[in-house]
Amino acid sequence: MAVCVAVIAKENYPLYIKTIPTDNELKFQYTVHTSLDVVEEKISSVGKNTNDLRELYLGLLYPTEDYKVYGYVTNTKVKFVIVVESSNTSLRDNEIRGMFRKLHNGYVDMLCNPFYTPGENITSRLFDNTVLSMMQQD
């Protein structure tokens, strides 16, 4: 399914990035990082558009030849980015939405971990499993 899942802090630094083909991690990091341009633009345009849905789900950020990058932002401005392969046509908008929903739930649960300080890198095994489950259903 997803080939890369990332959680980005309010201040735009990465809290968590997981990629499937680990040798390509750097490229995915760049993909996620550059997608923040679009995320920021979408966040800042909220309210300007009257028929705005005001969803947390931001939809497709931008397509590249090989990947599709989707974004999601919580009200606390934590960003989730999911990258899927362009060739994967089985994933429709609804499935992506579901993945983000799951990711958000996982993130909020992770915050309840007493050993986690908000703003630090995410190392929770539980959260890791949530993410892995989204990446392994192929």
Binding site: K10, R54, E55, V73, N75, T76, V108, L111, C112, P118
Partner: protein, 156 residues
């Protein structure tokens, strides 16, 4: 309804514990300690409570969330009145603030009110900070158990 008072008991004990263990000179720190605790709690709570709400349009939208959803979840009631000068000051009035309802309503315990309001102030500040609004929160009691929280937005 025991489950609802658990939070109140815990809060009361937290205050009394802090003041009991603090030395005389350090008692000024207790308020700021309580505030910091509230900040952390507010931060986490806002993360959780906003999970299912739609994206906030603007500052006022965020304030309404604090007055309704947040207040309801924490204090089982809504804020009674929200006012703003549209220049970065918001006043939230709660006519029957939960942490003050058990204190007799005269002027007698007015001095004790700040202890019981530090944690809630911190909670508001933490929640708003996590929602991207930096502010200073102060509370004011003129007649128990009514309480006004003033939120002053810090713009950069």
């Amino acid at each position: 309804m025991a489950d609802e008072v658990v939070f109140e008991y815990l809060h009361m004990e937290m205050i009394s514990y802090l003041y009991r263990t603090a030395e005389k000179i350090e008692q000024d720190h207790c308020i700021s300690k309580l505030e910091s605790l509230g900040f952390r709690v507010g931060q986490s709570l806002s993360e959780r409570f906003t999970k299912d709400s739609s994206r906030f349009k603007d500052e006022l939208d965020t304030m309404k969330f604090i007055c309704k959803d947040f207040w309801n979840s924490v204090y089982k009631k809504q804020v009674d009145n929200l006012r703003t000068n549209h220049q970065g000051v918001y006043v939230l009035q709660d006519n029957k603030f939960r942490f003050l309802t058990q204190i007799s309503s005269g002027k007698q315990y007015m001095d004790a009110a700040p202890k019981y309001l530090a944690f809630p102030c911190g909670m508001i500040r933490g929640a708003l900070s996590n929602l991207g609004i930096n502010c200073v929160v102060t509370a004011e009691v003129s007649a128990m158990p009514a309480c006004k929280f003033q939120i002053q937005i810090q713009r950069l």
